[in-house]
């Protein structure tokens, strides 16, 4: 049985003007234990919406979301979330205090949690930065703190919302390979959100391509059957998969644009 399943999930937001916006409709995916699943889609299509429900921050309007066969009702330490942007870090805490936050909340004794936090700080390549505050760290370093904070809490599953989107290309590359290493050694399940096709093909076991919103759902799922050393732009098999995914995304961009034109035409 899959670790996580989303069945016929829908989410309708009520806007401040009072009318309804259907962000996601009839959304179906399953994620296996130990799998690296990428959710790919154009900006605004509803990726964060899906993650928010899986994390338990919000309830779906329709459908069921289950982990281990149990319906998700609230956030829990079994699902660690790496947020889009850096506003989830605690500016009043140092790097290491941020990383040990979850352990502290769960009553783990001071010495042990500090040791574990330092271990993960080192794992994400921030050794020596433990006493700095978030405001003293670069964007890439803050993302690493977020990742270490989640890893230190040892969740079953990582939910990552465009964690590398704001990074420069070089930092992103090194973070991607670090993440792959960490995932291989800990064998955690990952739901990784991105709008970058290249990133999805580099990281994923499977890619779920989302349709353009509103009422977004899964357009198709692409298996990324590549060995680690094949995951490079120069590799032919990598390029084949890239092209397949690119075709799907381009179709969705086309649909979104014609919808926009239609809406603009109606408005005029």
């Amino acid at each position: 049985m899959a670790l996580v399943s989303l069945r016929n999930v829908g989410k309708t937001y009520r806007s401040l003007q009072g009318d309804d916006y259907v962000a996601v409709e009839d959304f179906n995916i399953e994620i296996e234990a130990g799998e690296f699943f990428c959710l790919l889609g154009t900006s605004g299509c509803g990726k964060t919406t899906v993650l928010t429900m899986l994390a338990g921050f919000e309830q779906p309007t329709t459908g069921r979301i289950e982990i281990d066969g149990r319906i998700i009702e609230a956030p829990g330490a079994d699902r660690g979330v790496v947020f889009q942007g850096d506003d989830s870090l605690y500016e009043w805490l140092t790097a290491v205090e941020n990383i040990e936050f979850g352990l502290r909340m769960r009553g783990i004794e001071r010495k042990e949690r500090r040791d574990r936090a330092l271990h993960y700080l080192e794992l994400v390549g921030l050794k020596g930065q433990e006493n700095k505050h978030p405001s003293e760290l670069s964007g890439g370093m803050k993302q690493r703190i977020q990742i270490a904070r989640v890893l230190a809490n040892e969740p079953r599953m990582l939910l990552m919302d465009e964690p590398f989107a704001a990074l420069d290309a070089q930092t992103r590359l090194s973070m991607q390979s670090e993440l792959l290493k960490i995932q291989a050694s800990t064998n955690k399940s990952v739901l990784f959100i991105t709008h970058d096709i290249d990133e999805a093909v580099t990281l994923a076991d499977r890619i779920g391509v989302m349709r353009a919103g509103p009422a977004s759902s899964i357009k198709g799922i692409v298996d990324v059957d590549l060995a680690q050393d094949e995951r490079e732009r120069t590799n032919d098999r990598f390029l084949d998969i890239y092209k397949t995914v690119y075709g799907m995304i381009r179709e969705e961009v086309g649909i979104a644009m014609s919808r926009q034109e239609k809406a603009a035409g109606q408005g005029a």
């Binding site: 330490a77 947020f83 140092t94 909340m105």
Partner: protein
Amino acid sequence: MSKAISLRRQGTVKSAGAPGWNPLSISRGYGGYLIGFASLFVIWHLAAVYLVGSALFPPPGQVLAKAGVLIWSGVLLEHIAVSLRRILIGFFLGSLAGIPIGLAMGSFPAVRKILEPYTEFFRFIPAVAMITVAVIWFGIGEESKIFLIIYTTIFIVILNTAAGVGAIAKNKTRAARSLGASSFQVFRYVALPATVPYILTGMRLAMANSFVTIVAAELVAANEGLGKMLWDSRLYMLVDDIFVALVSLGLLGFVIDRLFRWAIFAFAGRYSPVA
């Protein structure tokens, strides 16, 4: 750990502020204040002696001499102590009540809805307008003054605290929840520390307003205090005494406000530039 860092930082700031003529070090340290205050007294002196030249506008030297006399006799310090005591008691009681109320209003929409009519209503009745009822209810002694300072403080602290809670990024509380924090832990370890800079800023504003209130209250009805000193001096045309009281108010306010700014920076300045 973080304390050590902040101490070290103050150390560097202090050494940068050592007397010297580097304009940068002046702008960052105490040298600038020294020049500022010195020029204030020079301009005051020039204006009093050469521009106005009237007994109704004494120069700083004369006021300083009078201040010396009043300090020596104990009168000035007595007035200052009385006013300061009223401010501090009312201010701390008002903050003590205002902070938890503000936290509750910011955290729970139901509490906000119930209490908002109070805060929105009384916010527009200034403390000086309440002097009359305060005196009728509590007399001209300490109680009416402390009541007025509490009144001055509490609404400003409530509004700032509640605004601080409202300004917490949603992802901060969500992160805590998915790291395993309970609702109480989210409140204690996220909402509270994230709100501290706002609380301190509210208290700082409230302190400034407390000076307005206390002087007004003591002018109208009191037996002691800087406001009373101002009133009596006017009655007997003791212009020097009036100026001593005014300068005392300015200095007192300045020192207390510096203490607040220092507290805000030491406690929260590193991550929240509200000060």
